[in-house]
Protein backbone atom coordinates (compact mmCIF):
# COMPACT_ATOMS: atom_id res chain seq x y z
CA UNK A 1 0.00 0.00 0.00
CA UNK A 2 1.30 3.44 -0.92
CA UNK A 3 0.24 6.30 1.34
CA UNK A 4 1.07 9.45 -0.58
CA UNK A 5 1.30 12.80 1.18
CA UNK A 6 -0.55 15.87 -0.05
CA UNK A 7 2.78 17.66 -0.54
CA UNK A 8 4.00 14.97 -2.90
CA UNK A 9 0.71 14.99 -4.81
CA UNK A 10 0.62 18.77 -5.06
CA UNK A 11 4.11 18.81 -6.52
CA UNK A 12 2.86 16.90 -9.56
CA UNK A 13 0.88 18.08 -12.55
CA UNK A 14 -2.51 16.49 -13.29
CA UNK A 15 -1.28 14.01 -15.89
CA UNK A 16 1.77 13.18 -13.82
CA UNK A 17 -0.45 12.42 -10.85
CA UNK A 18 -2.72 10.16 -12.88
CA UNK A 19 0.18 8.31 -14.42
CA UNK A 20 1.78 7.93 -10.98
CA UNK A 21 -1.44 6.44 -9.56
CA UNK A 22 -2.02 4.14 -12.49
CA UNK A 23 1.53 2.81 -12.51
CA UNK A 24 1.27 2.13 -8.77
CA UNK A 25 -2.04 0.33 -9.13
CA UNK A 26 -0.87 -1.69 -12.13
CA UNK A 27 2.05 -2.85 -9.99
CA UNK A 28 -0.49 -4.30 -7.57
CA UNK A 29 -0.42 -1.53 -4.97
CA UNK A 30 -3.31 0.18 -3.27
CA UNK A 31 -2.66 3.90 -3.53
CA UNK A 32 -4.05 6.25 -0.88
CA UNK A 33 -3.76 9.92 -1.74
CA UNK A 34 -3.94 12.49 1.01
CA UNK A 35 -5.82 15.43 -0.46
CA UNK A 36 -7.08 13.23 -3.25
CA UNK A 37 -7.92 13.88 -6.88
CA UNK A 38 -10.39 16.33 -8.36
CA UNK A 39 -13.47 15.00 -10.19
CA UNK A 40 -11.84 15.91 -13.50
CA UNK A 41 -8.66 14.06 -12.55
CA UNK A 42 -10.68 11.03 -11.50
CA UNK A 43 -12.50 11.07 -14.83
CA UNK A 44 -9.15 11.28 -16.64
CA UNK A 45 -7.93 8.37 -14.53
CA UNK A 46 -10.96 6.28 -15.58
CA UNK A 47 -10.29 7.16 -19.21
CA UNK A 48 -6.60 6.27 -19.02
CA UNK A 49 -7.40 3.09 -17.10
CA UNK A 50 -9.80 1.96 -19.83
CA UNK A 51 -7.08 2.48 -22.41
CA UNK A 52 -4.86 0.10 -20.44
CA UNK A 53 -7.34 -2.62 -19.52
CA UNK A 54 -6.07 -6.06 -20.46
CA UNK A 55 -6.63 -9.67 -19.45
CA UNK A 56 -4.20 -9.20 -16.57
CA UNK A 57 -5.39 -5.73 -15.60
CA UNK A 58 -9.19 -5.47 -15.61
CA UNK A 59 -9.21 -1.97 -14.14
CA UNK A 60 -9.39 -0.18 -10.82
CA UNK A 61 -11.56 0.26 -7.78
CA UNK A 62 -11.73 3.79 -6.47
CA UNK A 63 -13.36 5.62 -3.60
CA UNK A 64 -12.89 8.86 -1.72
CA UNK A 65 -14.28 11.53 0.50
CA UNK A 66 -15.28 14.61 -1.48
CA UNK A 67 -14.42 18.00 -0.09
CA UNK A 68 -16.72 20.94 0.13
CA UNK A 69 -17.19 22.92 -3.07
CA UNK A 70 -14.25 25.07 -4.05
CA UNK A 71 -14.16 28.66 -5.25
CA UNK A 72 -16.99 29.29 -7.75
CA UNK A 73 -17.62 25.55 -7.62
CA UNK A 74 -14.74 25.08 -10.07
CA UNK A 75 -12.60 22.62 -8.14
CA UNK A 76 -13.98 19.76 -6.16
CA UNK A 77 -11.01 17.99 -4.75
CA UNK A 78 -11.46 14.93 -2.64
CA UNK A 79 -10.05 14.95 0.87
CA UNK A 80 -8.77 11.45 0.39
CA UNK A 81 -8.85 9.06 -2.54
CA UNK A 82 -8.20 5.32 -2.40
CA UNK A 83 -7.41 3.53 -5.66
CA UNK A 84 -6.57 -0.14 -6.05
CA UNK A 85 -6.37 -2.86 -8.66
CA UNK A 86 -9.80 -4.36 -9.36
CA UNK A 87 -8.21 -7.79 -9.61
CA UNK A 88 -7.46 -7.93 -5.88
CA UNK A 89 -10.02 -5.48 -4.51
CA UNK A 90 -13.19 -7.50 -4.45
CA UNK A 91 -15.36 -4.69 -3.12
CA UNK A 92 -14.93 -1.18 -1.88
CA UNK A 93 -17.75 0.16 0.20
CA UNK A 94 -18.16 3.69 1.38
CA UNK A 95 -20.21 5.00 4.23
CA UNK A 96 -20.36 8.52 5.53
CA UNK A 97 -17.00 8.42 7.28
CA UNK A 98 -15.67 4.95 6.57
CA UNK A 99 -14.22 3.34 3.44
CA UNK A 100 -13.97 -0.45 3.64
CA UNK A 101 -12.04 -2.51 1.13
CA UNK A 102 -12.22 -6.29 0.88
CA UNK A 103 -9.04 -7.62 -0.64
CA UNK A 104 -8.59 -11.02 -2.22
CA UNK A 105 -5.25 -12.80 -2.36
CA UNK A 106 -6.33 -14.65 -5.52
Amino acid sequence: MDLVSEERINSMGSMEKIRFVLEGVKSGNIVVLEGGLTSEEQMNLIELTMAEVSEDFPGIEMSGYPSKKGFLNMRRKARLTVIGPAKIMRTMKKEKDLISAVISAF
Binding site: I46, M50, E55, M62, G64, P66, M74, A86
Partner: protein, 233 residues
Protein backbone atom coordinates in the same frame (compact mmCIF):
# COMPACT_ATOMS: atom_id res chain seq x y z
CA UNK B 1 -22.30 29.67 -60.57
CA UNK B 2 -20.07 31.33 -58.00
CA UNK B 3 -22.76 33.87 -57.07
CA UNK B 4 -25.38 31.10 -56.73
CA UNK B 5 -23.07 29.28 -54.36
CA UNK B 6 -22.58 32.48 -52.34
CA UNK B 7 -26.33 33.06 -52.31
CA UNK B 8 -26.82 29.51 -51.07
CA UNK B 9 -24.36 30.00 -48.26
CA UNK B 10 -25.99 33.30 -47.27
CA UNK B 11 -29.44 31.70 -47.32
CA UNK B 12 -28.17 28.89 -45.12
CA UNK B 13 -26.59 31.32 -42.69
CA UNK B 14 -29.81 33.33 -42.59
CA UNK B 15 -31.81 30.21 -41.84
CA UNK B 16 -29.34 29.20 -39.15
CA UNK B 17 -29.41 32.53 -37.35
CA UNK B 18 -32.98 33.61 -38.00
CA UNK B 19 -35.00 30.44 -37.69
CA UNK B 20 -32.90 27.93 -35.84
CA UNK B 21 -34.55 26.51 -32.79
CA UNK B 22 -32.30 25.61 -29.96
CA UNK B 23 -31.84 21.87 -29.79
CA UNK B 24 -30.42 20.56 -26.56
CA UNK B 25 -28.02 17.64 -26.77
CA UNK B 26 -28.84 15.40 -23.85
CA UNK B 27 -26.67 12.51 -22.77
CA UNK B 28 -28.08 9.45 -21.05
CA UNK B 29 -25.32 8.42 -18.68
CA UNK B 30 -24.92 5.91 -15.91
CA UNK B 31 -23.35 2.62 -14.91
CA UNK B 32 -23.91 -0.52 -17.01
CA UNK B 33 -27.40 -2.02 -16.73
CA UNK B 34 -28.95 1.13 -15.23
CA UNK B 35 -31.47 1.26 -18.08
CA UNK B 36 -30.04 3.94 -20.40
CA UNK B 37 -31.03 2.22 -23.63
CA UNK B 38 -34.44 1.29 -22.21
CA UNK B 39 -35.03 4.97 -21.43
CA UNK B 40 -33.76 6.03 -24.87
CA UNK B 41 -36.17 3.58 -26.50
CA UNK B 42 -39.00 4.78 -24.26
CA UNK B 43 -38.41 8.39 -25.35
CA UNK B 44 -38.34 7.40 -29.03
CA UNK B 45 -41.44 5.23 -28.72
CA UNK B 46 -43.34 8.03 -27.00
CA UNK B 47 -42.35 11.01 -29.13
CA UNK B 48 -41.08 9.68 -32.46
CA UNK B 49 -42.11 6.21 -33.57
CA UNK B 50 -43.24 3.33 -31.44
CA UNK B 51 -41.58 0.88 -33.84
CA UNK B 52 -38.17 2.54 -33.74
CA UNK B 53 -35.44 1.51 -31.29
CA UNK B 54 -32.22 3.34 -30.47
CA UNK B 55 -30.58 0.18 -29.25
CA UNK B 56 -30.98 -3.26 -27.79
CA UNK B 57 -31.17 -3.71 -24.05
CA UNK B 58 -30.39 -7.05 -22.44
CA UNK B 59 -29.30 -8.25 -19.03
CA UNK B 60 -25.70 -8.57 -20.27
CA UNK B 61 -23.73 -5.53 -19.14
CA UNK B 62 -22.13 -3.20 -21.72
CA UNK B 63 -24.67 -4.14 -24.40
CA UNK B 64 -24.26 -0.55 -25.68
CA UNK B 65 -20.61 -0.14 -26.64
CA UNK B 66 -20.89 2.81 -28.99
CA UNK B 67 -22.62 6.11 -28.29
CA UNK B 68 -25.76 6.46 -30.41
CA UNK B 69 -27.31 9.84 -31.19
CA UNK B 70 -30.90 10.35 -32.31
CA UNK B 71 -31.59 13.90 -33.37
CA UNK B 72 -34.66 16.05 -33.69
CA UNK B 73 -36.85 14.66 -30.93
CA UNK B 74 -39.63 16.97 -29.85
CA UNK B 75 -40.79 16.35 -26.32
CA UNK B 76 -44.17 18.04 -26.34
CA UNK B 77 -46.41 17.06 -23.48
CA UNK B 78 -49.13 19.36 -24.76
CA UNK B 79 -49.82 17.08 -27.70
CA UNK B 80 -48.87 13.76 -26.18
CA UNK B 81 -50.61 11.67 -23.63
CA UNK B 82 -47.73 9.97 -21.87
CA UNK B 83 -48.41 6.50 -20.58
CA UNK B 84 -48.09 6.65 -16.85
CA UNK B 85 -49.67 3.58 -15.32
CA UNK B 86 -50.78 3.86 -11.74
CA UNK B 87 -50.57 7.63 -11.57
CA UNK B 88 -53.41 10.05 -11.20
CA UNK B 89 -53.40 13.51 -12.71
CA UNK B 90 -53.19 16.31 -10.23
CA UNK B 91 -54.64 19.82 -10.60
CA UNK B 92 -51.17 21.25 -11.18
CA UNK B 93 -50.25 18.92 -14.00
CA UNK B 94 -52.13 20.79 -16.74
CA UNK B 95 -50.22 24.01 -16.22
CA UNK B 96 -46.93 22.12 -16.10
CA UNK B 97 -47.81 20.32 -19.32
CA UNK B 98 -48.40 23.62 -21.07
CA UNK B 99 -44.77 24.53 -20.52
CA UNK B 100 -43.32 21.11 -21.15
CA UNK B 101 -41.86 21.38 -24.63
CA UNK B 102 -38.29 20.64 -25.61
CA UNK B 103 -36.46 19.87 -28.83
CA UNK B 104 -33.51 17.63 -28.22
CA UNK B 105 -30.95 15.20 -29.52
CA UNK B 106 -30.66 12.15 -27.31
CA UNK B 107 -27.30 10.42 -26.95
CA UNK B 108 -27.43 6.92 -25.52
CA UNK B 109 -23.96 6.27 -24.12
CA UNK B 110 -22.09 3.13 -23.06
CA UNK B 111 -22.11 2.44 -19.32
CA UNK B 112 -19.39 4.09 -17.27
CA UNK B 113 -17.17 1.74 -15.28
CA UNK B 114 -13.75 1.66 -13.67
CA UNK B 115 -13.19 -2.02 -14.44
CA UNK B 116 -14.12 -4.41 -17.23
CA UNK B 117 -13.28 -8.06 -16.77
CA UNK B 118 -14.00 -10.41 -19.66
CA UNK B 119 -14.78 -13.19 -17.16
CA UNK B 120 -17.98 -11.31 -16.23
CA UNK B 121 -19.26 -11.76 -19.79
CA UNK B 122 -18.45 -15.48 -19.68
CA UNK B 123 -20.78 -15.74 -16.69
CA UNK B 124 -23.57 -14.79 -19.12
CA UNK B 125 -22.68 -17.71 -21.38
CA UNK B 126 -20.38 -15.98 -23.86
CA UNK B 127 -17.43 -17.93 -25.26
CA UNK B 128 -14.00 -16.74 -24.12
CA UNK B 129 -13.03 -15.13 -27.42
CA UNK B 130 -16.37 -13.36 -27.71
CA UNK B 131 -16.11 -12.23 -24.08
CA UNK B 132 -12.64 -10.77 -24.67
CA UNK B 133 -13.80 -8.98 -27.81
CA UNK B 134 -16.79 -7.55 -25.96
CA UNK B 135 -14.58 -6.43 -23.06
CA UNK B 136 -12.25 -4.63 -25.46
CA UNK B 137 -15.18 -2.89 -27.15
CA UNK B 138 -16.62 -2.00 -23.75
CA UNK B 139 -13.40 -0.24 -22.69
CA UNK B 140 -13.52 1.79 -25.91
CA UNK B 141 -17.15 2.54 -25.17
CA UNK B 142 -16.33 4.00 -21.75
CA UNK B 143 -13.71 6.26 -23.32
CA UNK B 144 -16.20 7.32 -25.98
CA UNK B 145 -18.84 8.12 -23.35
CA UNK B 146 -16.36 10.31 -21.47
CA UNK B 147 -15.35 12.15 -24.67
CA UNK B 148 -19.01 12.86 -25.45
CA UNK B 149 -19.39 14.76 -22.18
CA UNK B 150 -17.70 17.78 -23.79
CA UNK B 151 -20.62 18.13 -26.22
CA UNK B 152 -23.54 17.73 -23.84
CA UNK B 153 -25.97 20.51 -22.92
CA UNK B 154 -27.47 18.36 -20.19
CA UNK B 155 -27.21 14.92 -18.67
CA UNK B 156 -29.80 12.46 -17.44
CA UNK B 157 -27.89 10.26 -15.04
CA UNK B 158 -29.59 6.92 -14.61
CA UNK B 159 -29.16 4.97 -11.42
CA UNK B 160 -30.57 1.60 -10.50
CA UNK B 161 -32.86 2.17 -7.51
CA UNK B 162 -32.08 -1.29 -6.20
CA UNK B 163 -28.33 -0.59 -5.99
CA UNK B 164 -26.12 1.51 -3.73
CA UNK B 165 -26.04 4.93 -5.43
CA UNK B 166 -22.89 6.11 -3.71
CA UNK B 167 -20.47 4.68 -6.27
CA UNK B 168 -17.40 6.57 -7.36
CA UNK B 169 -18.46 6.65 -11.02
CA UNK B 170 -21.73 8.37 -10.06
CA UNK B 171 -19.86 10.82 -7.81
CA UNK B 172 -17.20 11.53 -10.43
CA UNK B 173 -19.77 12.11 -13.16
CA UNK B 174 -21.80 14.49 -11.03
CA UNK B 175 -18.63 16.30 -9.91
CA UNK B 176 -17.59 16.79 -13.55
CA UNK B 177 -21.01 18.10 -14.56
CA UNK B 178 -21.02 20.53 -11.63
CA UNK B 179 -17.54 21.77 -12.56
CA UNK B 180 -18.69 22.36 -16.16
CA UNK B 181 -21.98 23.91 -15.08
CA UNK B 182 -23.94 21.32 -17.07
CA UNK B 183 -27.42 20.60 -15.66
CA UNK B 184 -28.03 17.10 -14.36
CA UNK B 185 -31.24 15.21 -13.67
CA UNK B 186 -30.95 11.92 -11.83
CA UNK B 187 -33.44 9.28 -12.96
CA UNK B 188 -33.86 6.71 -10.19
CA UNK B 189 -34.77 3.85 -12.50
CA UNK B 190 -36.37 0.47 -11.82
CA UNK B 191 -38.80 1.90 -9.26
CA UNK B 192 -41.17 -0.93 -10.19
CA UNK B 193 -38.96 -3.54 -8.52
CA UNK B 194 -39.88 -4.64 -5.02
CA UNK B 195 -36.42 -3.86 -3.57
CA UNK B 196 -36.19 -0.42 -5.18
CA UNK B 197 -35.28 2.37 -2.78
CA UNK B 198 -35.22 5.68 -4.71
CA UNK B 199 -35.14 7.56 -1.42
CA UNK B 200 -31.52 6.39 -0.97
CA UNK B 201 -30.63 8.21 -4.19
CA UNK B 202 -32.54 11.32 -3.12
CA UNK B 203 -30.64 11.31 0.18
CA UNK B 204 -27.28 10.73 -1.52
CA UNK B 205 -27.59 13.60 -4.02
CA UNK B 206 -29.84 16.25 -2.48
CA UNK B 207 -28.34 19.02 -4.64
CA UNK B 208 -29.86 17.58 -7.85
CA UNK B 209 -33.43 16.73 -8.89
CA UNK B 210 -34.07 13.01 -8.52
CA UNK B 211 -37.06 11.54 -10.39
CA UNK B 212 -38.03 7.94 -9.62
CA UNK B 213 -39.06 6.19 -12.85
CA UNK B 214 -39.49 2.83 -14.46
CA UNK B 215 -38.28 3.22 -18.04
CA UNK B 216 -39.33 -0.35 -18.73
CA UNK B 217 -42.89 -0.01 -17.46
CA UNK B 218 -43.25 3.68 -18.33
CA UNK B 219 -43.99 4.74 -14.77
CA UNK B 220 -43.65 8.40 -13.77
CA UNK B 221 -42.22 9.33 -17.17
CA UNK B 222 -44.28 12.49 -17.46
CA UNK B 223 -42.58 13.91 -14.41
CA UNK B 224 -39.16 13.18 -15.92
CA UNK B 225 -40.11 14.83 -19.21
CA UNK B 226 -41.42 17.90 -17.40
CA UNK B 227 -38.17 18.18 -15.47
CA UNK B 228 -36.15 17.74 -18.68
CA UNK B 229 -38.13 20.52 -20.36
CA UNK B 230 -37.63 22.74 -17.34
CA UNK B 231 -33.90 22.10 -16.88
CA UNK B 232 -32.73 21.65 -20.45
CA UNK B 233 -35.17 23.83 -22.37
Amino acid sequence: MKSRKRKGILARLFRVFAFRKKTAKIGLYGPPNAGKTTLANRIIHTFVDENEDMGVSTEVPHETRRAVRRGGILIDLRSKSVQNPGSHSNPDSKSKRERAKLKLDVVDTPGLATKIDFHEFMAYGLEEEEAKRRAKEATEGVIEAIKWLDDMDGVVLLMDSTEDPYTQTNIVLIGNMEARGTPVIIAANKMDLSDAAPQRIINAFPQHPVIPISALKGENMEKLYEEMARRFG
